[in-house]
Symmetry: C2
Subunit: 497 residues, 2 copies
Amino acid sequence: MLKDHVKGNVPDKDVLKTMIREEEAKLSGSLMKIKEAKLPVMVICEGWGGAGKGSTLGKVINAIDPRFFKLKTYEGTPSDDEKRYPFLYRYILTIPEGGKFTFYDGYWMHEITDAVREGTLSPEEYAKRIESINRTERSLHDNGYLIVKFFFNISRKEQKKRLEELMEDKDTEWRVSKSDLKENSRYDKCLEIYDRYLTDTNRSIAPWYIIDAKESKTAEWQMLGFLNQSIDTALKNKALAVPILQNTFPLVQMPKLSDIPLEGKTLTDEEYKETLDKLKKELRDLHYRLYRKKIPVVIAYEGWDAAGKGGNIKRITGALDPRGYEVHPIASPEPHEKSRHFLWRFWNRIPRTGHIAIFDRTWYGRVMVERLEGFCSENDWQRAYNEINEFEKELSDWGAIIIKFWVQIDKDTQLARFTDRQNTPEKKWKITDEDWRNREKWDLYEDAVNEMIEKTSTEYAKWYILESVDKKYARIKALEIVIDQLKEALDGKRKNK
Amino acid sequence: MLKDHVKGNVPDKDVLKTMIREEEAKLSGSLMKIKEAKLPVMVICEGWGGAGKGSTLGKVINAIDPRFFKLKTYEGTPSDDEKRYPFLYRYILTIPEGGKFTFYDGYWMHEITDAVREGTLSPEEYAKRIESINRTERSLHDNGYLIVKFFFNISRKEQKKRLEELMEDKDTEWRVSKSDLKENSRYDKCLEIYDRYLTDTNRSIAPWYIIDAKESKTAEWQMLGFLNQSIDTALKNKALAVPILQNTFPLVQMPKLSDIPLEGKTLTDEEYKETLDKLKKELRDLHYRLYRKKIPVVIAYEGWDAAGKGGNIKRITGALDPRGYEVHPIASPEPHEKSRHFLWRFWNRIPRTGHIAIFDRTWYGRVMVERLEGFCSENDWQRAYNEINEFEKELSDWGAIIIKFWVQIDKDTQLARFTDRQNTPEKKWKITDEDWRNREKWDLYEDAVNEMIEKTSTEYAKWYILESVDKKYARIKALEIVIDQLKEALDGKRKNK
């Protein structure tokens, strides 16, 4: 891509100035349309060190009201804390809200290409990174994001000249990094690496634009022009549905909810108490080992209202060191969450290595409540099965253990518990009108749950059913499953890696 | 405090168990009252390494529904990134929302006491930290926060035994830090340091409770008991106004808005263009020096609607490297911001060392729009002058340059600009009904602004008036002030440090 790039015609200086003014006016004129369409725009600038992406960016954003954008700079190397999260984590955190821009002065490219240059990333890891990026960009695009990518290109000679100029002055010297110098001294090798990276990540939904950055006004004009064109196109496409993808992940066969027997799944108080104490002790010890081995764990709870999720979670957390876990109760999204990709608020809550994150309700809200209440379009929730499988695949590839529980009761049991809550003053806050309304849609929910379990029980992130007419039974079963999964991972016998 | 602590009576085991159950029930029974009263609760646990604050915390939070709390662990040493912010920064970020708890397994104590033990904190710095903490706790309390502080106490012998036990097992070994071992080997010195710290930060609005942590059930019972008592008291006090404090900061004499002449403050287009280019170049160079010297800068803009804040800011940012500054447009707070201390969302946005943060509207909303629209109580905004002076003092003591601009126009100029916006399609989005409503309250606002400028023009964070009937004049004046202030700081001639 980079090696065979053909430079376009460049207008002469006076014309250029006028054309830049025009493009600036066009950009600032499209802000209200972007706001109304709630279009989130990611402008990713990569390039050779010293190519001037920073100063070009500075000029471009000065044409935009600060209410409409953020600018984010990424260093090639994650901090020690960031290293305790998956590769994608620190990048996804900064995606814009609908109606706003994030400009990136460097994004995920250099973390990868620097590592390739230094020989610290194997071809397999490289391929995985590329797949992660392409999937993420596609998922963002499908969820309405516009992604515009620029590569600022200069020759080896030009780069050398610029770096030397910067280093001559002690006030600009800091702008030249070690990585910039390495880049220049190994320009041809880097050219190979960048060319390959750009080719590997050049997709129709998020193509690369190569900017000839030798002359700064020309660079600015090119960037503004491409940006305006992309915005035009995105605004036109905004209302279109996107294709639903085939499932490519290995699935485990799962029963329908109605085929799961609930009767007889009970424990006596004595059985319960005795087993509970034993299992809690076991889990406590496993938690310490897990922490030491830095394995992250995600436990997801879904289930009928009043099925006993809260009490079940409590039996797990009762065994854990509070410094090593967090429970995330998931309610309807806050405005700043709702205006981003639906998985953003969950990316925000994934555990660090060695930690356990327990979700009381999860990202599966997309294919249950959001589907049934019309909070997202049909195209949105139909795409979500695959988007969720991809999300969980990222976590699993990173090394996370993922355990998903569906807490199952029948309709009569729910009624009995609702009535009890309604009639008990200390429990009354737990029951709302919404619970009663959801209950009326039981059959629709059951269909949605069956479809969800069928389509997202992947080998690497299975669903487990907890029969919870007797809550004691469900609690012991949950503890046993968690313990089994942790043991498998700790003893290195995991099949699903 | 610690040295002369007298242990209370401890009930015997069976009674203890029942009493813990009762306290747990009481705690979980008060959750709805806390939610309704929107009471934010900070539970700070400090103590000797191995004293068991983690496991006691684990039991206490297990009595609380996860929707009502977060748990946060602090290490004694900030990360490299955290070091680029003021001492208080990483602690204030995690304060709870109204109606919720944050439990702290260690808070700001150990960053200070570890440094004292290691001899890396001078007595002057120590005194400053203590003042910062006491002010912050008072300000949180005054804004409705309940702060409950526990110190888990064990003897040298007991600590030694526990640390040795933990180190015997490789799965628990990691729980013993180097700092824990140092603590034990220099127990008496640490006792001195802790005793002094507890005494220095023991205030009636946030007293310390010493927990005898030798026996874990007793510790749990004490903690639950103190916590429940504190909650009771806080719920009773919730509606009370708190005293307004005397101003203790040196103030600069400022004119009333009506005494500031606006006529004649104009520039010709030629004067403007020529000066602008010169000043921008100067500011660009200063920005690089600033970055290298790691000086943080806060520029705050307030002013009448349509006074020209946006365009003024643009002339500043036009000169800056986009990687080194951020503009924060401040609108009404989001729900998760509104439910915290009013300064929280600004703490969240302070610049790293070497960076510039520009605020388009600021924390002064508290004493203008929130005051006039009744978004906070009279007691709230009257207290705010001092709270704001303290906030800016923290930033100034940290080394920040603080520049505050009031962009001034007269009523006729505003009318002309409103009308122009109304009649120009591209500008129409900039004018809202609210702007017209605010205009009707011009005189009330003017009184509020005069009071604000009078009470918050401190030596270390002055207000500057930008006469903006001619926007060109105001822009040049702003650039000149910013340049002057940066120069003063860079050349080490600042008077207000």
